[in-house]
Symmetry: C2
């Protein structure tokens, strides 16, 4: 039997990459050519020249998103560069089309400099209705996104941050609904303070989480102790989103998890063991989202008492998967022609995603819809559009 590796390589080789361009207009004869190209094409050009907003009426900009990467943090592969990142960006492009009908175009940049990435995105922006930043290493991904949001008049969204955060928030909302807990009562440990961890902490804070302790490569984050925290983490500390652990003596992740309700891992595989879960409060929630190996084996977490377990993997229940968020987010943002995707829209998206599952259907192994649930994209898109309408 062929392995996944063999199957994947053969698919990519045989199909010669994963997407193609298709014409939406006929080009059978000189008359067709005269409409779609010279001389007829001059007409929409002139209208757009007079009224720049008309670009959304007459061109693909209304439905096109650039999927931009510098190849610095690709999947679990790390800094493999722009060329090796292209298969992932093509994958993202076909997901955009399949799930949201959006035409997404991979743009793999031959630079990893913040200023150069920002200015390149600015320069290519006229063509696109939005920019999806992808697989750019933290902390620079946060700065790049912030600068582009303030510079551009099209929505810019770093999926590794906010896609993950929105789906995590939805899963946590539903875990609370199912176990009849309140968000504000939860004590949460977050392992990993990179792009995803930063956005998860911010979004959870926006939806009412009060106690969130953080752990990263340097160990337990003690906001009152100075450390070499990077800028995004520093922001979380300054805004008091990351809380002080109960005791300054706490040094290990296992100690930090003692007496908490939720573990959220966006870090590395096999980070925690069963004892760490056993030390948590009764019926804990464990989202072990490191890929491909979770922070703890899901079965081991359940055996140790975890009531609800989620991972990033498709072969376990409760897959907390970006693909649940970005298609609907961009569909809503493009449709409302919003210039940014703000915090309210992310909260609205998380709630819409969670409430696709009615109370009576929630189960410990079904707290998040499947990416193939046909309701997901439109519910999220509608929530984003309604939010945009309120703001305008």
């Amino acid at each position: 039997m062929d392995t996944l590796k063999e199957k994947s390589l053969r698919l990519h080789r045989d199909k010669k990459g994963k997407f193609e361009i298709r014409s939406k207009v006929p080009l059978r004869n000189a008359d067709d050519l005269a409409l779609a190209y010279s001389p007829g094409v001059a007409e929409p050009c002139k209208v757009i020249h007079d009224t720049p907003e008309a670009i959304y009426t007459y061109t693909t900009k209304q439905n096109t998103v650039a999927v931009v990467t510098d190849g610095s943090a690709v999947l679990g592969l790390g800094n493999i560069g722009p060329k090796a990142a292209l298969p992932v960006m093509e994958g993202k492009a076909v997901l955009f089309k399949e799930f949201a009908g959006i035409d997404a175009i991979p743009v793999c940049l031959d630079t990893q400099d913040v200023d150069e990435i920002v200015e390149t995105c600015q320069r290519i922006a006229p063509t696109f209705g939005g920019i999806n930043l992808e697989d750019i290493a933290s902390p620079r991904c946060v700065e790049i996104e912030k600068r582009l949001i303030s510079l551009l008049d099209i929505p810019v969204f770093h999926d590794d941050q906010h896609g993950t955060a929105i789906v995590t928030a939805a899963a946590l909302l539903n875990a609370c609904r199912l176990t009849e807990r309140k968000m504000e009562d939860l004590k949460i440990v977050l392992a990993g303070t990179g792009a995803a961890g930063y956005a998860i902490a911010k979004l959870l804070s926006s939806i009412g989480i009060k106690s969130l302790y953080a752990f990263n490569k340097e160990g337990v984050v003690h906001p009152s102790r100075h450390s070499s925290y990077d800028a995004p983490l520093q922001e979380l500390i300054e805004k008091r989103i990351v809380a002080e652990p109960p005791s300054a003596a706490i040094e290990t992740l296992e100690e930090l998890m003692q007496g908490t309700d939720v573990f959220i891992g966006v870090s590395v595989g096999d980070l925690i063991d069963a004892d760490a879960v056993r030390g948590m409060n009764k019926d804990p929630i464990v989202f072990a989202m490191a890929n491909p190996t979770p922070e703890i084996d899901p079965a081991a977490a359940r055996d140790a008492g975890a009531k609800i377990v989620g991972t990033g993997r498709s072969d376990h229940p409760n897959q907390i998967n970006n693909v649940l968020a970005f298609p609907g987010i961009f569909k809503g943002a493009l449709s409302a022609r919003t210039k940014t995707i703000d915090e309210d829209m992310k909260i609205a998206a998380a709630r819409a995603l969670a409430y696709i599952i009615p109370d009576e259907e929630l189960r410990t192994d079904y707290i998040i819809p499947s990416p193939f649930d046909k309701r997901v994209v439109d519910r999220i898109a509608t929530a984003v559009k309604e939010c945009a309408a309120k703001h305008s």
Copy 2:
């Protein structure tokens, strides 16, 4: 009845732009997702990371061209900027697909600075198998192309220069075949020394033209008189591609055309009148390619004695149209994976295009094949590939 203007605006509006992305891989379920996206997609990424050339095996790079413009010289509309240029770039993209099966992606740049255009193309290059520069004003288009050719390991081709030059050369070759003249005996007047004029002069010189006189906005080009010539024209003068007019007293285009065999116009509409054609040698050849209004009305040129008349328009015989060249050129270059499109390939392309019409089928109103002639693209692609094979 609807005008072309109404029809074109309606087409662009109703279709919401002219191209879309299509997935080439199935995405029906989690197994499909695991192959095309995470975790399977990691396999081609790893292979490309180890062997960068494998990007051509596993991704769309092998068949993808960026259509890059700064919107500074769009059709006959001039400097309308990147947004208003998008309909033309989309048109180019669908022509690439329709005629050559190539996936082309519009990239309209929000800068008209040479350095910035060059560095932006460098940075986005990993994604693309080639770059087609389009509708960039002269003389900077020449410098941009030269710099990119020397910087990048993918073919870069400014269609307004070389596409036009290749098709003009093919038309002139066939005009000579039909009227039994030799290229080296022809006296040619070239009106217009912008991007297209520069490339036409260079290519005609490469295929044996000895006497080419030039005329531009400043009047007759007198190589021995100093003037404010721009860099590309200066190069033609230094390489003696532009010849000295018979007399230094010649001041007007009509005087310059006296006693010449061929008029090639890539300038502005209604530049010459019937008397200018009457002053040319017997059975002159007139290619009046300004768009949409030719340098002289084709009927007037024929009435004044022109044996063969060509224009850039689809509603007249002998349409000298870029679309005859670029699809085959890029198809050949991508297929041979050549790093540049050199002068020999352009000559080979011009000859291949010309000789699609056998001697016995040549007529004064049929010296160049139709863009819808199915043989065109593959004949040119084969010629380019054979040329690449010789060089390697």
